[in-house]
């Protein structure tokens, strides 16, 4: 329950900040100022927009299929929000410590598609339907590289439990039941003989434990961009072609929910990326000799300090990922459908298959 409330609060705060950040990042990339009027540097703009959205009439098109139309935003939001249930925000805070967290996450995100299809189809609008079709084609295709990238991490970590994966990547590895005897070697290679278990920091992150994970992370990142329907993979929403894609007919509160779900998806997937590859809630600062940076910047599990620093690091990493998502969005033009499919099936998927094999080999070596 605590995790539920914390995640809900986090999601709402994050959304207000992220929309503001998105506007500012886009503005700065395009040499503009962005919102400036409401509050200091326009900080209150999103709140004002939210108030406006909530005041609007809840319009249901006459010919729309009413119940699916009304239910779709809720399904999409619930699917995204349910994903946070297995996210280990801190060493102790996790909605559900399911042993198959990764698997659950991939499954629950897919429910999102049902909501999208419901929204697009029930709107009774050709743009919405086209948008929904494109969106489903895209998400289903890109689930393959996302799934493979996640499996790479799972294979390397030998577990599907996100909390276990988080513990493995830091100095508190011995605190996790069953990992008391584990040692982290530099680059995950026992033969190098450099024990970094108590050094921690970024040296024990998955991207360093298995250097090729950097490529996997990039693939994961690209594929999650497509999963979130974000530019350059925003053909489902392509404003210039489809008005707004599947959410063309939505307005007011329901549209706000769809928007919230979209931003929630970004947060969920960047958090997942952070947990799988970038050390989860572990600090990036290593212990260097007597300078125990890692111990100073991340408290022991079970302590308040440990939880606070854990949440801080994970959220910071996720926000970093979101910044990159925005940076990418405001840099690239939209991909064509054929380019989208080329990238997915001919580049990312084969690369991921090879990397999956290499991850397994690396595990055997280490």
């Amino acid at each position: 329950m605590l995790a539920f409330l914390i995640f809900l609060g986090l999601l709402l705060t994050y959304m207000i900040l992220a929309v503001y950040a998105e506007r500012k990042v886009s503005a700065f990339i395009q040499d503009r100022l962005g919102p400036m009027e409401i509050g200091w540097y326009g900080i209150g703009q999103t709140v004002a927009d939210l108030i406006k959205l909530l005041q609007k009439e809840d319009i249901v098109p006459e010919r729309a299929d009413k119940w699916p139309f009304l239910a779709a935003p809720m399904i999409i939001f619930v699917a995204v929000f349910a994903g946070f249930a297995v996210m280990p925000l801190t060493p102790d805070l996790q909605g559900s410590d399911a042993a198959v967290g990764v698997f659950y996450l991939l499954a629950i995100i897919s429910i999102d598609i049902i909501g999208l299809l419901m929204a697009g189809w029930s709107s009774n609008n050709k743009y919405s339907l086209l948008g929904a079709m494109r969106s489903i084609a895209q998400i289903i295709s890109y689930e393959v590289p996302v799934g493979l990238a996640v499996i790479c991490a799972a294979v390397y970590c030998q577990t599907l439990d996100l909390q276990a994966i988080s513990f493995q990547q830091g100095i508190w590895i011995h605190e996790y039941p069953g990992y008391a005897q584990e040692t982290n070697y530099l680059f995950g290679l026992r033969s190098l003989g450099i024990d970094v278990t108590q050094v921690g920091g970024f040296l024990t992150w998955n991207v360093v434990r298995m250097p090729l994970f950097f490529v996997v992370y990039v693939i994961f990142f690209i594929a999650t961009l497509a999963e979130c329907n974000r530019a350059p993979f925003d053909i489902p929403e392509a404003e210039s072609e489809l008005v707004g894609g599947f959410h063309t007919e939505y307005s007011g509160f329901r549209w706000a929910i769809l928007f919230l779900a979209e931003y929630g998806m970004m947060l969920l997937l960047t958090m997942l990326g952070a947990v799988l590859f970038l050390g989860g809630w572990n600090t990036p600062l290593p212990n260097i000799g007597p300078v125990k940076l890692a111990f100073w910047t991340s408290g022991a599990p079970g302590t308040v300090y440990g939880n606070l620093t854990g949440a801080f690091w994970l959220v910071t990493k996720a926000f970093g990922g979101i910044f990159v998502q925005m940076w990418v969005r405001w840099t690239y033009p939209r991909l064509r459908v054929d380019q989208l499919m080329y990238l997915c099936w001919k580049v990312l998927t084969p690369a991921c298959l090879i990397l999956l094999f290499l991850s397994a080999v690396w595990r055997l070596l280490g």
């Binding site: 700065f28 503009r32 100022l33 400036m36 940076w327 690239y332 580049v347």
Partner: protein, 283 residues
């Protein structure tokens, strides 16, 4: 036999064309070349936008086109928070009109030249010289009405060019939008309607008195005249007013005859002449 040969030839040709296109594309011809180029160009794009984020620390200064530095500012935020800051406009810019009524001799030239007829002047003759303008013209007409409808104005600036006293000028004010269209009709007249009425009446009384005096003189000269031309009196009166208005106008005679009726027909044929010419040349 023959068609199949032809097909063979065509397929060969198509093949060679395809080869050519592939060769032209360069690095894109191979799978890995494609990926390499994709990564490279994507990275270039990211660097470019990151550079812009970095440069967004500074804003470009709001300097006008006349400034030497105008083309020197290549980086930084371009947004101008308009109502709070604005680019200085050039001195010879054409924006809102202003008439310095003190200097206006109500010659009607501006109203005549205006291509969209947005200046409306109603002159009232004065009984004597009203004042001298700052450049020495004498003002003999009141403007009961001097309206410029900025909603119609096309900012051509012709009116300011013809104005003999240079009282009609273009200012640097460009932000004067209104919610009610009528508010864009600017009234420059320095007389209130009541005052204008008074001036009109004064002039009429003056004329009547003059006429009476003239009549009296005439009557005195020709003592025993028949009262027959009485019917012509009103016509004479009209003529008399025109001439009498001209007579007091002394040296700057060019200012006084406000006869738009003469000039208008001159302007219109010019437009009409050009129009029939066009189809002629086309034919």
């Amino acid at each position: 036999m023959l068609p199949s040969r032809k097909n063979f030839f065509w397929s060969f040709r198509n093949f060679s064309i395809q080869r050519m296109q592939v060769n032209v594309k360069g690095a894109n011809s191979s799978y890995f070349g494609n990926i390499r180029e994709g990564i490279k160009s994507s990275w270039e794009g990211l660097k470019l936008s990151l550079k812009h984020i970095f440069e967004a620390r500074r804003s470009r200064k709001p300097i006008g086109v006349a400034d030497k530095e105008y083309f020197g500012q290549q980086t930084g935020i371009v947004t101008l928070k308009y109502p709070y800051e604005a680019l200085p406009v050039p001195d010879n810019g054409r924006y809102r009109l202003h008439n310095e009524m003190e200097d206006c001799i109500v010659c009607d030239k501006c109203a005549e030249i205006c291509p969209v007829d947005c200046i409306e002047i109603e002159p009232v003759k004065a009984t004597e010289e009203i004042r001298k303008t700052s450049d020495g013209h004498s003002v003999r007409l009141y403007a009961a009405k001097f309206d410029i409808d900025m909603a119609k104005c096309c900012f051509c600036g012709l009116c300011t060019t013809v104005c003999p006293t240079e009282c009609l000028t273009m200012t640097k004010t460009y932000d004067f939008s209104e919610f009610i269209m009528d508010n864009l009709n600017y009234h420059f007249s320095d007389l209130s309607p009541a005052e204008a009425e008074l001036k009109k009446k004064a002039y009429e009384d003056f004329q009547a008195a003059k006429l009476a005096a003239k009549n009296a003189a005439n009557a005195a000269k020709a003592n025993a005249e028949a009262p027959a031309p009485k019917a012509e009196v009103p016509r004479k009166e009209v003529l008399a007013t025109e001439t009498s208005a001209e007579t007091p106008a002394n040296p700057p005679a060019e200012n006084t005859p406000p006869k738009p009726v003469i000039k208008r027909p001159v302007m219109k044929p010019v437009i009409k002449k050009t129009d029939p010419n066009l189809p002629d040349t086309q034919a």
